[in-house]
Structure formats: C-alpha cells, structure tokens
C-alpha cells in the first residue's frame, strides 16, 4: 500500500495507518486531535470504519499523505473489520490508561494485527502503543516506565507513548515516531527489492506523476 512518486527532487508517499483498540479508548479523538487539532467530548461511536487524511510535509523533499483508518472498537466486529487491515504499513494500538481492561486487550489486538497484515517482506508492520486519556490519570498503570518498555519489547511494539487527545499530549510525537519507522522500512525496502505491487500502483497513478518514465 505504499505509493512513492518522484517529482523532481520531491518524494511523495501514501501510507495507510490503522488505529485500533477497545471501544471508547479515544481512537477518534486521537485522530481528530492529530488531523484537525481539535477535541470534543461529543464524538459519536464509530460504526464500521471512519477515515481521515493528514498531509505531512516531512522535510523539504518528502511529502506524506497519511490515510488513517479509524476502526470500530467492538471486538465482535472481528473478521468483518479485519478486511480493513489490508495493505496497512503502520498502526496505532490505543488503550485507555484509566481502564485496565482496555490495556489487557492490547495483546489481543496486537496478535490480531500481526496475523492479518504484514509488510511485503513478511515482517510485522511497525506499531506504536498509545496509553490515552492520561490527563485523567493520577499515578497508576504507566508509572513504571521500565515495565512498559519491557512489555513493548516483548510484544513487538516499536514504541509506546502516554497521550491525551484532550490535553494534546504526545500525539504529534507518537505520529512522528511511527512515520519515521514507516519511512525507514520504505527506504530500506526500496533499496533492497523492488516491489512489483507498488510499481503497478504507480501505473494507476499515471496522470498525477508522469515523470518516472
């Protein structure tokens, strides 16, 4: 799912990123904060899937179009929403730092993700763990940072962040971190073996690029 287009010096990427986790942990809020810099108490429950697009001017030469797939949190939607995982190159798994059960479920979401989607070379897609709603936390779960680091190593998360969509804490940082990892993969990948699928996708994008040939 990566489309890279050379335009003179500029490189343009399209990344599909999943945002998953238990119901009501604030997935939609995190996305709204990141994309629109807003927060509201009044988001409606997501049924199925919602979308957001964020255009990131990464550096002078790189433009990233980030497709965020905000997937309904109820576990029972199961396989039905898993088709949405296809071709994702990165993911956030979100839990509510004030609700232990949502952290408990993280493992389940991670396994599910790894089973359903991998990078073209077979590795797992880079995934960042977000402990959201820390503005409502008084000490507690995330206080033991070493323990969280170990947990992430063990479960294969590239990083974890304490976030608050409400207070705008660490959302941009987490996104930057994930994009960086995706770019690393993308660069190493394009160096090593050309991706036939990506090339094919480029063909579809003819009208827009029109330079590589």
């Amino acid at each position: 799912g990566i489309i890279a287009t050379m335009t003179e010096q500029r490189k343009e990427y399209l990344f599909k990123v999943l945002v998953i986790g238990e119901l009501g942990v604030g997935k939609t809020s995190v996305i709204k904060r990141y994309v629109h810099q807003i927060f509201s108490q009044h988001y409606r429950a997501t049924i199925g899937v919602d979308f957001a697009l964020k255009v990131v001017h990464w550096d002078g030469e790189t433009l990233i179009r980030l497709q965020l797939w905000d997937i309904a949190g109820q576990e029972r939607f199961g396989n039905m929403t898993r088709v949405y995982y296809r071709e994702a190159v990165g993911a956030f798994i979100v839990f509510d730092a004030t609700r232990a059960s949502t952290f408990e479920a993280v493992n389940k979401w991670k396994n599910d993700l790894d089973n359903k989607v991998t990078l073209p070379d077979g590795r797992n897609i880079p995934t960042v763990l977000l402990g959201n709603k820390i503005d409502q936390m008084r000490g507690g779960l995330l206080s033991n940072k070493q323990q969280m680091d170990n947990y992430c190593d063990e479960k294969g998360f590239v990083a974890w962040f304490e976030t608050s969509a409400k207070a705008n804490i660490n959302i941009d940082e987490a996104a930057k971190y994930l994009i960086d990892k995706i770019l690393d993969n993308e660069r190493s990948y394009s160096r090593n073996l050309p991706d036939p699928e990506a090339l094919e996708l480029n063909k579809d994008d003819d009208e827009k690029s029109g330079c590589c040939r």
């Binding site: 119901l23 009501g24 108490q41 009044h42 988001y43 409606r44 429950a45 997501t46 049924i47 199925g48 899937v49 919602d50 979308f51 957001a52 697009l53 179009r65 497709q67 309904a72 949190g73 109820q74 576990e75 029972r76 939607f77 199961g78 396989n79 039905m80 088709v83 949405y84 232990a100 059960s101 952290f103 408990e104 479920a105």
Partner: protein, 593 residues
C-alpha cells in the same frame, strides 16, 4: 382583565356575529394575578385592508424567532434583551399578514417564559426572553370601507376592529417587579405620513390570497416636516423639490417593503400549507387508518399518504404497528429484563469491589456488555444532549439496551444498537420501544447484521452491488477501480438505519418508509445518496470518497432531493429480478445475476 375598547361598526345595527362571544366579560376575565396589558383602541393602528401591521410603537425587539399561525390566531415569539440589565418585558412591534376573516378572532397574548439559569435555578436576567403575543379582535358581520384618516382612531374605522385586547397569559410570578409592557401610542406619531389606503377593506380570505399585490406596511421611518417655526420658511420651489424627493424616497421604501411583504407572504403561505397538510394527514391517520390498521395499511391511498412522511404524533404508533410484535413480548417481560440487567450490574460491582486491587483480572468478557453499553450511550446523538449522563433519556436507553442483552444473550449488545433504540425511544414509550426494538432486530436484515453473520452480510452487500451497478454504472465502476467496497460505507448506514448518517428528521422519514417497504428501502436510500453525490464522488480518490461517505455532509441535500432520488432508484436487476429474488439467489449459490 380590563377591556378598553369594544366597538361596533357605526351605522350597523346588526348585532356582532361570529366569534363576538369572545368578548363577553366572562371570557376575558382573567385571574387577578395575571398581569394585564391594556390596549386601547387608539393606541393600536391597524391598516384596514387585509390587516398588516399592529404597531405597538415599542422598540426593543431584536428579531422574530418564530411564528405559528392558524386561521384565527397568530403568535410571534420574540427574543428581547433586557434594558440596562433590568429584567423587564420589552416593548414590541407586531406585524402580520394574516387575513382577518369576518368574525375571526385574533388574540394578542403576551406570554412570557423566563429562561431559567440551570446552574442556580434562578432567572437569568441576561438570557433572552420569549414572548408570545396574541391579538384578539373581532369583527362585525360585513366588511365595510374604512376611512383611515391620519390621526383617526379605531373608532372611526367602520367595521374593522371591535375590540382589541392583550394580556399576559402566563403570570410573571417569577419576578413580580417586572414591568408590564407599556403600549405606546403610535398613531399620532405616524399620522402625518400615513397614507390612507383607498381600497375598501377586505377581510375575505380568498380575496386576500388572490390579491397579487400585498400591501406594504406604513412608512413610519420617513416623515416630511416643515422647518421649525424659528427658521425662515422654505421657498415654494424648495418646498416642491423636497416634496418630490420625499415622494421618491417613500416610493422606494414602499417598494422594498412590498418585496419584503411578498417574501413573507410566500413563506407564511408555505408554512401554512405545510401545517395544514400535517394537520389533515394526522387527523386521517388518527381517525381512519390507525383504528383499521389491518385493513387499511396496504391500501394504496394510505401508502401514498405514508410516502409524504408520517406526522410526528402518529409516527411512533405506525412504526410500532408495522414492525409488529411477532415475538409476543409484553411490557412485563420488559420490566423483568430490566431488573435482571440491574442485578447483573450490581453483582458485577460487588465482584469488582471485592477484588478492587486486581481489576486487571476482571475478565473483559464479564465487563463487556455492561461497559460497552455505558460507553456507547453517551456517544449516541450527543448533539441532542438527552441520552448523555444526566440527560432525561440516559437511564432508559441504558435499560432498553441492557434488557435486550439479557433477553437475547446470543446477540447481546452490538455497536449501532444504541442509535436504533434511541430512534425508537424518541418516538414511543420505553416499554414499547423495547418491544419494537426486539422485533425490529429480529427482521432478517437486522438479524444478519446484528448477529454479525458475515456470510449473510456479504450476500446483502452483493445484492446491493447488483442494484448499485444497475442504477449508477459509472460510479460503480469508479468504486470498483478504487477498491471502495460497500462494507466501508454500508456498515454504518445499515447498522444504524441511517440515523447516524442523516439528520434526525430525514432519518425519521427513511424509517417511515422502511416500516412501509421493508429492508429494501434502506438499500434504495443508499443508492439514492450515492446518486445525489455522484458527480463529486466520481472526481474523488479512494480516501476522499470514503471519508465523504462515512461522514455525509447532512446539509448538502433537502428532504425533497433525497426522496425524489429515492423515487428514481430502480429496484429491478438487469435480469429482471427484484431485491428479494436477487438476495435469495445470491444466498443459494454462485448463480450470476
């Protein structure tokens, strides 16, 4: 109630007819604590032809919030600002284009409802106040020409107003020091410029509506006056010039007013028409259709009426009857299930507190249903602010969803249910909402989706695609090319039956038709929505289209546009098959449709 003016057309010996009994003392007698607005005849000026303006000469109205009308009364709600922070009943100016029919009574009724400040329960002096004003007039039998000379009082208007009175119909008990609105004389102020209409008075409704030229209101803002006496007089030439200039100004002002009046007339006419339609439809539903439901509901005329949208006061009942109660659920069963659910919550809390240190061990399964319902309720129609914590419908929505999870543990709670239950709750009593909810979820389409039966859902999506392609081949091809599959946008639409995607009003009308035509209508609506936006969707990339469809801009089309597009959707496939056939064929095997 003081009643200052009772007049009868001079020279008319016939006793007043029609609603003149309105004016008997006993009728206008009000409780002593009801403040009184006295309006004497010469304080109010009514232009005689198809009366237009009651100018109480008062200045504080900001804007007219709304107006409702029936043939015999008018009401204006006005937002008024308190003066100098002092809560008082502001002055107001009323205008109406309603015709007065012979014998009609119009009520001028000042009804003040203070906005209560929620935080401290006190009257908020800075909040807008709402006033209803009703003007009551009664006429004598024959419309008669009226001479409306400058300075003339109502007494001189033959056959126009026999009485005029106003009162504050809701006691101002909350703040007794409030001033009663004072009606200020305006007649004298405007008299010098008021142009006397030449046409005879006409209160006949028909004639009023036929009249192509609505009458402008008086041009009170423009007054041509001589120079003060201490200044030299104008020359004849100058005087004439000023007179002509003045005339021109008045004409322009009149023209503009005419336009305004025409616009208002049109609006009011539409509103009246709509109100009339609703009123007559509602009486038909109540008196003829609902009592004979079994015989009537398939009737063609009834189906036509149904298509117009159900009047809000019968909507719940019609939904209930059409969805039915195949499951034979009783109100008692609902109560039992609510109790069971509440016990479940209690026992859960007990378990939780007994091992409070170790909440992590509380299995997600245990918690799920109760917790999911709790989380979703506050995220159901959040803009309405009635299902949220502390809102009036919070607990009852909670009860219905919980009761259902107890009643059907095999289905439990599934996201989307909260919207469906809320829609029902907005239209019927809790127990009936539960009964209807359970039966609705037992319909084939809802059962497939809410039981998350993927195979069946895929069949529904595939059937939808058959008709999507049939109706909108270009858009269908575009979606295919972009890999924009129906599961991406249909899940939300079908699970919530459009209650999340469309405005509440529009969703209700879609539900009306779902009740008449069944599941097919939901898919028809989906195709109509795609059709409405076909042009923009054709130009969109995957992500824009997906974003657009999962967050439809609700103000982008009107009821009329949506429903005329729904009308245009063909629900017959290329191979001449209907929805049900396509669905069952796709369900059977890999037959090509």
């Amino acid at each position: 109630m003081t009643f200052l003016s009772t007049m009868e057309a001079s020279g008319n010996d016939d006793p007043p007819v029609g609603n003149s009994s309105y004016l008997s003392d006993s009728d206008v007698e009000r409780d002593d604590d009801i403040p009184t607005l006295d309006v004497s005849a010469d304080e109010i000026q009514l232009s005689p032809d198809s009366w237009q303006s009651v100018d109480l000469g008062l200045k504080e109205i900001n804007h007219i919030r709304s107006c409702t009308s029936t043939p015999t009364s008018i009401k204006y709600n006005s937002t008024c600002q308190p003066l100098n922070g002092v809560s008082h009943v502001p002055n107001l100016t009323l205008q109406t284009n309603l015709p007065i029919q012979n014998g009609d009574a119009l009520k001028l009724d000042i009804n003040e409802q203070d906005t209560i400040d929620e935080r401290n329960g006190s009257i908020n002096p800075n909040s807008p106040e709402f006033l209803d004003i009703t003007l009551q007039t009664t006429e004598v039998d024959e419309p008669a020409p009226v001479v409306n000379k400058p300075g003339s009082s109502l007494h001189s208007k033959k056959g126009s107003i026999t009485s005029l009175l106003g009162w504050i119909s809701s006691p101002l008990t909350s703040s007794p020091q409030k001033q009663i609105p004072q009606v200020v004389k305006t007649n004298k102020e405007t008299s010098s410029t008021h142009t006397a209409p030449k046409s005879p008075i006409s209160f006949r409704k028909k004639r009023f509506w036929r009249s192509k030229e609505p009458q402008p209101m008086s041009t009170t803002a423009l007054i041509l006056e001589d120079r003060p006496s201490n200044l030299p007089k104008k020359s004849a030439e100058e005087s004439e010039k000023h007179r002509l200039q003045y005339k021109k100004m008045v004409e322009i002002a009149k023209k503009n007013e005419l336009k305004d009046v025409q616009k208002r007339n049109k609006l009011m006419k539409e509103q009246r028409k709509q109100e009339d339609t609703i009123t007559s439809a509602s009486s038909q539903w109540i008196s003829q259709i609902l009592p004979n439901w079994e015989v009537m509901h398939q009737n063609n005329k009834v189906r036509m009426l149904w298509w117009q949208g159900l009047p809000p006061n019968v909507r719940g009942k019609v939904w209930q009857l059409s969805i039915g109660n195949e499951l034979n659920i009783t109100e008692d069963l609902y109560s039992i299930m609510v109790v069971r659910f509440q016990e479940k919550i209690r026992s859960m809390h007990e378990t939780q507190s007994s091992c409070s240190e170790d909440t992590i061990s509380l299995s997600a399964d245990r918690e799920s249903t109760v917790e999911l319902i709790r989380l979703d309720i506050s995220r159901t129609f959040p803009h309405l602010c009635i299902f949220q914590k502390g809102g009036p419908y919070h607990d009852v929505l909670h009860d219905i969803l919980g009761a259902y999870a107890c009643y059907r543990p095999d289905v439990g709670y599934v996201q989307g249910m909260s919207f469906v239950a809320a829609m029902l709750l907005l239209n019927m009593e809790p127990a009936y909402a539960f009964i209807t909810f359970s039966n609705l979820l037992n319909k084939p389409c809802q059962l497939a989706f809410f039981r998350l039966n993927e195979e069946l859902m895929k069949i529904y999506f595939a059937s939808f695609e058959v008709f999507f392609e049939e109706n909108l081949p270009r858009l269908f091809a575009r979606f295919k090319h972009n890999n924009l599959t129906p599961d991406i946008y249909l899940i939300d639409w079908i699970f919530t039956m459009f209650s999340k995607a469309l405005s509440l009003d529009m969703a209700c009308r879609v539900w009306d038709m779902f009740c008449r035509d069944g599941e097919e209508f939901l898919f028809k609506t989906a195709i109509a929505i795609l059709h409405l936006h076909e042009k923009s969707l054709l130009a969109m990339e995957f992500i824009q289209a997906a974003q657009f469809l999962t967050r439809l801009p609700t103000d982008s089309f009107t009821h009329h546009e949506l429903f005329s597009h729904i009308c245009d959707v063909t629900m017959v496939s290329r191979s001449n098959r209907r929805w049900k056939d396509v669905l069952s064929l796709l369900g059977q095997s890999d037959v090509t449709i």
